[in-house]
Symmetry: C2
């Protein structure tokens, strides 16, 4: 799962491209995106109708739920903090531990998680969707087949690939509009480089290489967290309790290994880290410097870096609610 030769040399500061990479086996279409959006907003994808994708990945906000851990089916709490879906199409792997190699795989895994959807068998979910005439028609039209989990995943992934936030002030700066950043933000940008935040957080999404020549879709970009054990944060913020990739693949060499998380729109996604233990961006920057780079940053430098990070907030598109297909005059819930 891990790239044999992680790519460390790269164009560090990059703007957001105009287009998100599209996998060859799942081309975009307007009808497919619209179907995916319906599924994304449809509470019937949870067993009791209380959960939607948007519930934890809120597109009215930062593409997540602002919580440390999300609350799923029947009050169950997720193990890790919900990541933003904005610009998710630029990620090579999904989940904090990178265990899903595509948005399609991630969807299939996610709806099968009883903690989240409450479905213990995805067959039950698919049987339910097949009772909704509008979905039967849409799947037939888009995929030429009946409702299947794989097709639902392709539709939702297609919708997710439309979720990008261009034209942050940072992007304007990189494109040449030098006045789009203030002096403090520029100091922060320079510190981001010299303090070496950029050694991991680089590229279009500040999460390492996007899918392309350097890393393919499914080749993740990983780092240790905490890189240095023994800081006060191990106890106060429990950052070493969860072993990351190791807990998934049980490879002792992968203890504390995590997919490098993206930083775009980071000002919208507090609290921070896989366990949401940093309540503010200032705290997160201070902790990162200490745990990853063994550096104690002065307050002014923290503030400058935070000021820079806040320039990574892009322009969120207006997302209109889909009109969900109905089950005319009858309920689909048990």
């Amino acid at each position: 799962m891990l790239a044999a030769n992680p790519v460390l040399a790269f164009d560090y500061f990059q703007p957001l491209p105009k287009d998100v990479p599209i996998p060859a086996d799942n081309p975009q279409s307007k009808a497919k995106i619209e179907l995916g959006k319906k599924l994304f907003f449809d509470p019937r994808l949870s067993v009791d109708g209380t959960q939607t994708c948007n519930g934890c990945h809120n597109l009215a906000a930062g593409g997540e739920d602002g919580r440390a851990f999300s609350i799923g089916h029947n009050g169950a709490t997720t193990r890790r903090s919900a990541p933003t879906l904005w610009n998710i199409g630029f990620q090579t792997v999904l989940y904090w531990d990178g265990r899903a190699r595509s948005l399609e795989d991630q969807f299939v895994d996610h709806v099968a998680d009883p903690t989240i959807s409450g479905f213990t068998q995805t067959d039950e979910l698919i049987a339910r969707l097949r009772k909704i005439p509008g979905y039967v028609t849409s799947f037939k039209k888009v995929f030429g087949t009946e409702v299947t989990l794989a097709s639902a995943a392709r539709a939702v992934a297609s919708f997710e690939r439309t979720l990008f936030t261009p034209d942050s002030r940072y992007d304007a700066f990189i494109r040449g509009e030098k006045k789009s950043l203030t002096e403090q933000e520029l100091r922060g940008k320079e510190l981001f480089r010299t303090v070496e935040c950029l050694s991991c957080h680089f590229g279009v999404n500040f999460a390492g290489p996007a899918p392309g020549p350097a890393l393919g879709m499914g080749d993740g970009f990983y780092e240790l967290f905490p890189n240095h054990l023994g800081t006060e944060y191990d106890a106060s913020h429990h950052i070493a309790d969860d072993q990351g990739v190791f807990e998934f693949d049980h490879d002792p060499g992968h203890k504390r290994l995590w997919r490098v998380p993206p930083l775009r729109n980071i000002a919208l996604t507090a609290p921070y880290f896989h366990n949401g233990s940093a309540r503010t961006l200032e705290e997160a920057v201070r902790m990162m410097a200490k745990t990853q780079l063994k550096k104690e940053l002065p307050n002014q430098e923290v503030d400058d870096i935070v000021a820079f990070l806040k320039t990574l907030t892009g322009k969120r598109p207006v997302v209109s609610l889909p009109k969900l297909p109905d089950t005319s005059g009858s309920t689909i819930f048990p």
Copy 2:
């Protein structure tokens, strides 16, 4: 609370008016509606960020959640089924028992319900909203004051009054497009009158008089349910367990009294009744005839009435998600 002289003579079949009644003390404005929409979609109005107004009153669907009872804070179940918000501005009173005399009062009551929002003190909610700079600015702009519960209620009610669904096939028929209903639907419309469904379900929203000359805002239009005790549904569907208005005002004359519920978009809002005990529209029609009118309807008549009721589905407007104001780089949750 009950109107002294319930108005029973009325123009029975009415189209949906172009405009919803606006209370004189809460005039609409674009900025107020936009603010109300933000609050409507903002999970921070629930203590743990898991509930929004839209969660149970889903504007991607029939304006409700398709469940018998809604699931609120921490898995708590509501006592009664969530009603649709589509065309809610045409109702004179709110809640199944009509205990709220305006959408504004209803909001104030609703967010203070710990079963729903999880807030035991609305002061906590208001204190939280005051920490969100975008809301502080919007409330100042729209109301000239800081964030208050009363102003939040006015904003949300203003947004709710925009939620109407014009141009059902029924409305087209009433306007004179005689071909917009099929023969079966016309038979159903005639049965709806002769069977006497219309004796309660009349007017613009099929729920009795809308606010206007006949009944003012806050004057409800009520009926007994079940009107006739002793049908098999008392036991099988528990329809007489909940005593309606009596449970609120403890007036023995108000046992089993309920606000007459609207029928527009009824095909989108199964299951039916205050306790969601009728799973289909057919079942609901059959039960109504029996419990209210002591009539056993033949299957064909049930089908015809259901066909007519399905023509009451209007055109839902596209609702775009608001962009929620953020708390830059910090979380607001405990």
